[in-house]
């Protein structure tokens, strides 16, 4: 395996000057011969690992330890996280850091000089809309006080020229926040919320008027917590974690499909899409055990493959190039997607 890695390092170094895009594409091919491997350099034991990516940067965050006798997280969970920057090509840890952030975008903004670095101090997550020159951002209301669910009372719409908040989209007390995403054409903002009386909802806002133009009832006790769009923007894939995955047609903004978890365990929250939009990848687990990854055929709306990774639950996934990174309690695994699909 080491020889393969050295080979790819050399190939990458040669390819990069020719063109970053070509180099990265080439580098994200298989490092080893196995369909999946484990990342080197992470601490051992059972931990709530999270994987998060942004612009091909990959971070692994330790969200706390798990008691393997009871399969319960050890409370209190940390407020400041130990995080590891991982080289997705070499599949090993290259840096250990401390951060209060859990999203790669925010960690990078905090640590590097970027156009959004000024947002990292106060906000946990944000989206840029270059069409209206605005950012949509959220900050946890109780960031400093508790390591329970990060609650957000509102979404702030920030004018990027003046850095002033130009509108607040209120959530509480009507609903609490799930997640949000901008449609690829930037015309609509999707905010998933959870209303205590009515369960999961999807609010759709016009980014021009900043008014709510539609509400979709998910008819679930959960709401969407991870969102991906197909490349053409036609389909919205929203993960409700344990309750399944919703597919929404964004032309009509209508719920058009639902994918339940398997009988023997549950989906975890984060999902990834294959490069051709034909498959969704999601972590599997039950009670922080029985970890694996499921591949869902979008057209059939059903699981077509599972990969058993670990006796511990796999609580998040992230995709970089043609590699899928899956965080289970006993470490982070790398899956060669094309190899797995070919099997």
């Amino acid at each position: 395996m080491k020889r393969w890695r050295l080979f790819h390092l050399v190939v990458t170094m040669v390819a990069m000057p020719i063109g970053t895009f070509v180099g990265m594409q080439f580098a994200y091919q298989s490092v080893g011969q196995n369909t999946f491997r484990k990342i080197d350099g992470l601490p051992s034991g059972y931990r709530l690992w999270l994987v998060t990516t942004y612009e091909n940067h990959l971070f692994v965050i330790e969200g706390g330890q798990v008691d393997p006798k009871r399969w319960e997280p050890q409370l209190p969970l940390p407020l400041l996280f130990r995080a590891f920057r991982v080289d997705p090509v070499m599949e090993r840890v290259v840096e250990e850091i401390k951060t209060k952030h859990i999203f790669a975008q925010s960690i990078l903004a905090e640590r590097e000089q970027r156009r959004d670095s000024w947002l990292a101090q106060d906000y946990e997550y944000w989206l840029f809309d270059d069409k209206t020159n605005a950012a949509f951002a959220v900050k946890p209301t109780r960031w400093q006080e508790t390591a329970r669910a990060q609650r957000y009372s509102h979404v702030e719409v920030i004018d990027l020229s003046t850095r002033q908040v130009k509108k607040i989209i209120g959530l509480l007390p009507e609903a609490s926040f799930g997640t949000f995403a901008l449609h690829p054409n930037k015309a609509k903002l999707y905010i998933s919320v959870w209303g205590q009386d009515i369960g999961g909802l999807l609010w759709i806002y016009s980014t021009t008027t900043l008014e709510r133009i539609k509400t979709i009832e998910l008819r679930s006790d959960h709401t969407i917590k991870d969102i991906h769009f197909s490349k053409d923007g036609r389909y919205f894939f929203g993960s409700l974690g344990a309750r399944g995955i919703a597919i929404i047609d964004t032309e009509e903004d209508k719920l058009m499909g639902w994918i339940n978890p398997p009988e023997d365990r549950l989906y975890t929250v984060s999902i990834a899409l294959s490069s051709d939009d034909r498959e969704i990848y999601v972590g599997l687990g039950f009670a922080l055990k029985k970890g694996g990854i499921a591949a869902i055929d979008v057209e059939k709306r059903q699981i077509v493959r599972t990969l058993e990774l670990s006796p511990t639950g796999c609580i998040s996934v992230a995709k970089v190039g043609e590699k899928l990174f899956a965080a289970c309690l006993d470490g982070v695994y790398v899956i060669d997607i094309s190899q797995w699909r070919g099997q």
Partner: protein, 163 residues
């Protein structure tokens, strides 16, 4: 959501005061599970109202269990998003797991001092459902952590105290 409605979906305006358990429940009950949305939310008009009526007034009553947020559905959905009648939805799976923890497998001890309350918490936590339990003096809740999809049991919290 006000008044401790048995279900938040049908919105039937039945409150704990209408049921008056301390007067009308003549059975020898130890525990009561109300698996409706947010009925036992820990505030004066919901969970504490039920707790005051049952745990404080009925002799030997040991515990109350239910949800502090939306309750899981009985049925699964089909691939179009419609409910499938008589399917094994999350509420059914939770009930099955709860039964196992009450009979063959020992639940984790969350400090409630009651196997039934511990079993309810664990079965729901494992299925990412927002359970809550009360004994005569305290309550415990399942809540999602900042790690999306990872749930923990938080407690004990003394009651009745407005959060």
């Amino acid at each position: 959501m006000t008044g401790g409605l048995p279900s938040c979906w049908d919105r039937t305006p039945v409150r704990v005061f209408d049921i008056a358990p301390s007067v009308n429940w003549v059975e020898d009950l130890d525990y009561f599970i109300i698996a409706g949305c947010a009925v036992l939310k820990p505030d004066a008009t919901n969970g504490f109202a039920w707790g005051s009526e049952i745990l404080k007034k009925i002799t030997n009553f040991k515990g109350l269990a239910g949800y502090h947020g939306s309750a899981p559905a009985d049925n699964d959905k089909d691939s179009s998003g419609n409910y499938i009648p008589n399917s094994r939805g999350p509420a059914v799976r939770i009930a099955e797991r709860f039964t196992v923890l009450m009979t063959t497998e020992q639940p984790n001890d969350y400090g409630t001092a009651h196997r039934l309350l511990n079993s309810w918490l664990q079965a729901n936590k494992e299925h990412s459902s927002l359970a809550i339990v009360y004994n005569a003096t305290h309550y415990w809740m399942v809540q999602e952590t900042f790690i999306r999809g990872v749930y923990c049991v938080y407690g004990p919290n003394a009651w009745p105290i407005e959060r």
